[in-house]
């Protein structure tokens, strides 16, 4: 009874609403909603009855016979646990859709209600003919809905849908005829009974039908045109009701196909995934992007059907399809159908969640499915895994582009509906995370040494706290990104505790994408965010594949290590991939780079450490590759930083360059090298955070980060200058401040291991660091104060306080590095597999096999000498007169203006000239080259989508023929 209600209530509602809509439209909406709510209620009851929510046994079912006799004469329905969840989604989408459509076109309501009935019927149908009936209803209603919507291309789209439906009908009926003639049955299970040529025929026919209906590549052309051409409301409702139902019905039918080997489906799916997403790479219309995305999900369905069985299959298809449908619904609801470009000024926040969900960012629900999908693929074939990962990554790229292009402004288009959908998604995330909770682990951390764990947690937690403190200013709407920074920081803080690969990956992705969102809140963030997001996604996929390949534990030797290393390089923005960091840092909100460069980038160091520990230390060849990469990065990025004249960019380059040293240290795989790496990691956190926070203050007060327009700010921002000065001296590695220690350990380690060329490059890089260090200090703080900045004030207190705290810590560890080292060195010594001898710490003296360093003595000496000179100067005579900034010996002339005397742009011109013999290599060209190749390939693929309905029919028919003869094994 409940089932019948669930299925047929909407149909009843449809009739009543047809009757009502002429006379009392308002009442008809309410009536429709009442009927739909009734249906929803009954499905929820069903779901509880079937224990659908624990996902344990999705095949659980209740069967309902209606009318008299056996099928196909009557409609027999079988309600499975999986289908009931889908039905709930369909109902919710329909209720929301009715509300949405009510203010636009009341006449479509009966159609919508019929569509719901058709969807539910299809979901619960048990035999081929019933399915045919519901398929027909659905197609006709779709055509009607399309034609009724108020968009310019409605007739074109409707005709395409009608033509494709016609073809599908013919093929489907042919299949049904064959099945009935051969087996005398029409139950879905009858498909499995077929043998020989009929089996091949039915397989080919059914597969063509299904692939055309679910819009799988290469039959996705009509779907693309539909999503692009139909109004966003119709497209949204369609995707969450009918499209979802067809997908789930196909999921039901696909495993029953009498194909000799179901893995064929997986290969078709995998190929379609790569090719289809390649075609989507070039898409620019949001509707079309969603169409490509739905093709991706169709392909994934094929892959799943070919590779998994039983409850696994049901769970995966359910989660993937349902949440993708919700997400798509949410995206479409944000579009304004009256606009030519519906997603212009769509609410960025609301667009974000569905897109991240479709991409599969943890802990959003689709992630779990995608993770398991990739795990399964890894078991089938590495090629299939690669195809899956590449396809999903390509999808992520264009979806991120959609988001980054539209995430401007906040309009109220369908905001409520989308928020409901978002709530559903979050609820789903919580639900699925709780279901999969057992796979998360926070015990038995991947890092064996508790000291290192505490150190990294301190860096992450402290960095987050201080960056948040810095963000508590009124620089640029901190509320917009404050929460995301917090989220990113919190998950970062727990990263060292992760006990297995999946936990690590989830925290890693949450960190990365929360940071992406926070960056996107910057004022000019579109390109920067896009690059950042793409590299975050790329490193995420690489890491995911690596974890999948190592079977969820950390990280097996061989290919997984290489992938993880590439992920680390992407994350760190090392040489070649530095583009994203430079662009993102200069686009991000003022205090964000402090968090990204100072704190967040250390996550990659942690990953590297974890990888090295997990595989029992980086072996010598890999280590030397790492060290060479690090050294060359350190050098090249230092040169880039010296030649760049934008405050934030310089800091970004410098950051990448400094991390190069850490890589060299880790590559050494000796106690000294790791001490250097950890030491440098910690101090890099201290001084880079200070530098970026200082930059935030300067940029906030002056409104520019261009060296040519800054200068002389020491007079206006003395505190910021002091903190920056100390940090700069520290990172330049000048004793007595802290940066020297890292270099000292590093060179000691390099000489000990005998890697002299790397040592030479690293030393050279550390000297080149002086170039940009001084240039930074000079161009921003020294030199002439330009008249535009003459009345600048000191940076806000919220920025000064964290800088002050960090600088104090920096000074403390400068003079007493043993406070830090006496904990770190034993911890590193206890790690397995590290070569070399540990440094001996005796009081303030640190001794290695070849050298010694007493920071306290050096510090005291410098302070003493400095103090003596100072006091002597102070007492030896009158104080000098202070003269104005333009009072300089200028050959008797008056300097024309401060700006013209401030020498900051093109600062190291001779250096640039001296470097002229080198060929100029642009990493940007590498990536734009890759993009170009992908675009060309995509253009070649998408040439098949001509926009002509006849071509689409041809696709289906050609596929049918080829597939049939392929199955038969020749003509």
């Amino acid at each position: 009874m409940v089932i019948a209600l669930a299925v047929f209530l909407p149909l009843l509602g449809a009739f009543i609403s047809v009757w009502l809509s002429r006379k009392k439209p308002a009442l008809s909406v309410i009536v429709s909603q009442l009927f739909l709510s009734g249906g929803l209620l009954s499905t929820v009851l069903l779901s509880i009855k079937l224990h659908a929510w624990n996902l344990k046994d999705l095949g659980n079912s209740i069967v309902l016979h209606t009318g008299v006799g056996a099928p196909p004469l009557s409609i027999n329905l079988e309600v499975t646990a999986g289908a009931v969840i889908v039905a709930i989604v369909v109902y919710v989408a329909a209720i929301l859709g009715v509300t949405r459509l009510a203010d636009r076109n009341v006449k479509t309501q009966p159609l919508l209600l019929s569509l719901v009935t058709a969807s539910l019927g299809l979901l619960f149908a048990t035999d081929l003919f019933n399915s045919f009936v519901f398929l027909e209803i659905g197609s006709i209603v779709t055509i009607g809905l399309t034609a009724a919507c108020k968009c310019s291309r409605r007739w074109e789209v409707a005709v395409k849908v009608a033509l494709v439906s016609g073809l599908v009908t013919i093929l489907y009926l042919l299949a049904v005829v064959v099945v009935y003639k051969t087996t005398g049955e029409l139950r879905l299970e009858a498909l499995g009974m077929l043998q020989g040529i009929p089996a091949l025929m039915v397989s080919a026919l059914m597969l063509t039908v299904i692939m055309t209906e679910i819009k799988a590549f290469p039959m996705s052309g009509w779907g693309l045109d539909f999503y692009q051409g139909a109004s966003t409301g119709i497209a949204g409702i369609y995707s969450a009701t009918w499209s979802l139902a067809v997908l789930m019905w196909s999921a039901k039918v696909l495993p029953m196909l009498p194909v000799p080997n179901l893995e064929i489906l997986a290969w078709i799916g995998a190929g379609g995934l790569v090719l289809g997403q390649l075609a989507g790479f070039r898409a620019s219309n949001p509707g079309r992007m969603m169409g490509y995305s739905s093709a991706a999900y169709a392909s994934m369905l094929l892959v799943l059907a070919g590779t998994t069985t039983g409850n696994d299959y049901l769970q995966l298809t359910l989660v993937l399809m349902v949440f993708a449908a919700i997400a798509k619904f949410s995206v479409f609801m944000l579009g304004n159908p009256e606009k030519k470009n519906p997603w212009k000024n769509a609410a960025g926040n609301l667009l974000l969640l569905p897109i991240l969900l479709i991409i599969g960012i943890p802990p959003l629900p689709v992630f779990w499915a995608k993770f398991r999908l990739l795990s399964v693929l890894a078991g089938v074939s590495p090629l299939m895994l690669a195809a899956g990962a590449v396809g999903l990554f390509l999808e992520a790229v264009y979806l991120l582009r959609l988001w980054s292009q539209r995430s401007v402004g906040l309009k109220k288009n369908g905001r409520l509906l989308s928020m409901v959908a978002s709530v559903l998604m979050v609820a789903g995330a919580v639900w699925l995370t709780s279901v999969s909770w057992k796979s998360l682990s926070f015990s038995g951390s991947l890092i064996s040494s508790p000291t290192l764990r505490i150190l990294f947690m301190a860096i992450f937690g402290g960095g987050t706290l201080l960056s948040l403190l810095g963000a508590r200013n009124r620089i640029e709407g901190e509320r917009k990104y404050w929460f995301w920074m917090l989220l990113s920081g919190v998950s970062l803080t727990f990263l060292p505790l992760a006990g297995n690969g999946i936990t690590f990956y989830i925290l890693w992705e949450v960190t990365a994408f929360a940071a992406v969102i926070a960056v996107s809140r910057g004022k000019k963030a579109t390109t920067g965010t896009f690059w950042f997001a793409v590299f975050a996604a790329a490193s995420g996929f690489l890491l995911l594949v690596s974890i999948v390949l190592s079977g969820n534990m950390f990280i097996a030797p061989g290919i997984p290590v290489v992938l993880a290393a590439i992920a680390v390089l992407f994350k760190l923005g090392q040489m070649g991939t530095h583009l994203w960091s430079v662009r993102a840092y200069s686009a991000a909100p003022a205090t964000m780079p402090a968090f990204l460069a100072g704190t967040s980038s250390k996550a990659a160091i942690l990953l590297l450490i974890v990888t090295a520990l997990g595989t029992g230390i980086v072996a010598v060849p890999a280590g030397s590759v790492l060290a060479w990469a690090g050294a060359l990065t350190a050098l090249s990025m230092a040169v880039m930083a010296a030649l760049s004249s934008d405050y934030k960019k310089v800091l970004a380059y410098a950051s990448v360059s400094q991390i190069g040293y850490i890589l060299v240290g880790l590559g050494l795989a000796s106690v000294l090298g790791w001490t250097a790496a950890i030491y440098h990691t910690f101090h890099h956190f201290l001084f880079k955070t200070v530098l970026f926070l200082g930059a935030a203050g300067v940029i906030f007060r002056t409104g520019t980060s261009d060296y040519n327009r800054l200068g002389g700010l020491v007079r206006r921002m003395p505190l910021t200058f002091t903190f920056t000065l100390i940090s700069v001296i520290a990172f330049a590695g000048v004793p007595p401040l802290a940066g020297f220690g890292g270099k000292w350990f590093l060179y000691n380690g390099l000489i000990e291991t005998g890697w002299l060329p790397i040592a030479l490059i690293a030393m050279f890089a550390s000297v080149v660091a002086f170039l940009y260090a001084f240039r930074l200090l000079h161009a921003v703080f020294l030199g002439q104060l330009s008249s535009a900045n003459a009345k600048t004030r000191e940076a806000p207190l919220a920025l000064l306080v964290p800088q002050g705290l960090l600088t104090a810590a920096l000074m403390l560890f400068s003079f007493k590095p043993t406070l830090f080292l006496q904990h770190i060195v034993p911890a590193i010594e206890s790690l397995p597999g590290l070569a070399g001898v540990a440094p001996i710490i005796d009081g303030n003296l640190v001794t290695t096999a070849i050298g010694s360093w007493n920071a306290w003595a050096v510090g005291m000496m410098v302070m003493g000498l400095f103090g003596f000179a100072f006091v002597f100067y102070w007492l030896s005579g009158k104080r000098p007169k202070h003269v104005g900034q333009l009072d300089i010996g200028f050959a008797g002339e008056l300097p024309p203006s401060p700006e013209e005397v401030h020498y900051a742009g093109n600062f190291f011109k001779p250096y640039r000239r001296a470097l002229a013999f080198l060929p100029r290599i642009h990493a940007g060209k590498l990536f734009s080259g890759i993009t170009e190749i992908l675009k060309i390939a995509g253009d070649m693929v998408r040439a098949i989508f001509t926009g002509d309905a006849r071509t689409y029919l041809a696709h289906s028919l050609i596929f049918l023929v080829i597939f049939f003869f392929w199955l038969r094994g020749g003509i």
Binding site: K878, K881, H882, V883, G884, Q885, L886, D887, G889, A891, G892, E893, L894, P898
Partner: protein, 187 residues
């Protein structure tokens, strides 16, 4: 943008150190290399091995901040005077001026020109004049030794004179420099 304080006159005439200091000053005369007119060409031979002014401790400094002596060589046009004033005021006390050549003393052959000064003392205090058109390097060295003698005797105090009578000098300077755009204090 510029200094806005009056210069101070140090009151240390009576200190014993002053004698020692004057000895040091006389034996370490640093000349600002600011060629104001045609006579500057006659200074170059002083570097050479023939005349070698370094043996007296005289050296050229490229910046007025580090110099003690300003040499005004040749005729002084109004336009140059402006630069001379700024350079002179940027030299740190104690400082001295040597004027070189006839034109510097009284306009020389340009006495009737529309832009050449005739009486230099009105505008800046000159410690030593060296005449001739142009003076030979020997004459310049002679002028230097005269300056050294004056310094040792504590008589080369044109700079104090300038500070004390700054108003008088400024008034005269402003009279001939019709577009006075210098800051009032240039220290």
């Amino acid at each position: 943008m510029y200094c806005n304080k009056l210069p101070e006159i140090p009151d240390d005439r009576k200190k014993i150190w002053e004698k020692v200091d004057n000895m040091a000053r006389a034996n370490s005369l640093w000349v600002t290399a600011f060629g104001t007119g045609c006579g500057a060409i006659e200074l170059r031979p002083l570097h050479t091995s023939r005349f070698d002014m370094e043996r007296f401790g005289i050296a050229m400094r490229p910046t007025p901040r580090q110099a003690d002596v300003l040499i005004i060589s040749g005729y002084l046009a109004v336009k140059t005077l402006k630069r001379v004033i700024r350079v002179y005021e940027q030299i740190q006390d104690p400082k001295y001026i040597i004027a070189l050549g006839s034109c510097t003393m009284n306009g020389g052959m340009y006495y009737d020109s529309y832009n050449t000064l005739n009486i230099l003392d009105r505008y800046i205090p000159v410690d030593v004049y060296v005449n001739g058109c142009m003076p030979r390097p020997e004459a310049i060295i002679d002028g230097f030794s005269l300056l050294m003698k004056k310094i040792k005797e504590g008589k080369a105090e044109g700079w104090k004179n300038y500070i004390e009578n700054l108003e008088y000098y400024r008034e005269n300077q402003k009279k001939v420099i019709s577009n006075w755009d210098l800051p009032d204090y240039n220290w």
